[in-house]
Amino acid sequence: MVGIILLTHGSLGMELLKTSEMIIGKQNNVDFLSVQSGTSLNDLAGDLDNLVNKYKKDGVLILTDMFGGSPSNIAMAYFDKEHVDIVTGVNLPMLIKTFSMRNDVDNAQNLGRIASQTGKESIILAGDLMNK
């Protein structure tokens, strides 16, 4: 099973995980890392490296909150690693879909594709529904 690392500003990742578990139940092979105001990015990059290595065999998808933010910048260092993929802009529908599809894919890249597609499609402007 592809592992998942939530790497976000503040406690967003932890809360997203808690909320998604509230909806679809307890998840395995998932970790979160948070960047706080005074966090040393060097230390955090070390923690991330340990987690990424932990999932070397089955692969790992890193989900970050915002492209261009520090969490995402740290994650980008792994963009060319074969067992890792990265998706930015994590939201709740994306995370739930990613958890539920983990057994149906065989690598991080395929899971990443599903995650990014679901994340985009999950955003709806209510007015558009009415105008259909």
């Binding site: 105001s37 005074g38 966090t39 040393s40 910048n73 980008m76």
Partner: protein
Amino acid sequence: MNRKLIFRVDDRLIHGQVIEGWIKYFKIKEVIIVSDRVYNDDLQRMIYSSILPEHCILQFYTIKDFIHNFTEIYSAKRSTLILFESIEDLYNVREVLSDDITINVGCVASREHKIEITDTVFLDKSEVVMLCKLREKYEIQIKKLPWETAVEIKNFLSLIEE
């Protein structure tokens, strides 16, 4: 509007505060990363290049080359944000500082034995000494975002007294 030349210490270099804050607020046209480490790291250069807004030019300099090329950078008359990873790197380019630039300390991560100045700025004694020396000549604003009020530290030197 007069062009702005902002020297900022931020160990995260380009990130959310810089993109959403400083670049937008001051309509920055050019960002310069002054870091020997990043200059020699292709991956880091690629990451920072990919996240900058399209209307911004990004340049990388080593500390030595930055000092050497500063006259040219200064004469371009563009609003420019110049980023340093550490107080020490800023201190090492002090010969190019002048009254018409802005000096900002934004993010210096927490470590053991560091003094908490703000929620994003943690300094050790040697860094306080360097800032005190710079403060004798120039105003230094400690704040993470441009619209915030800078943190005033009246008894800055007392931080390092035993």
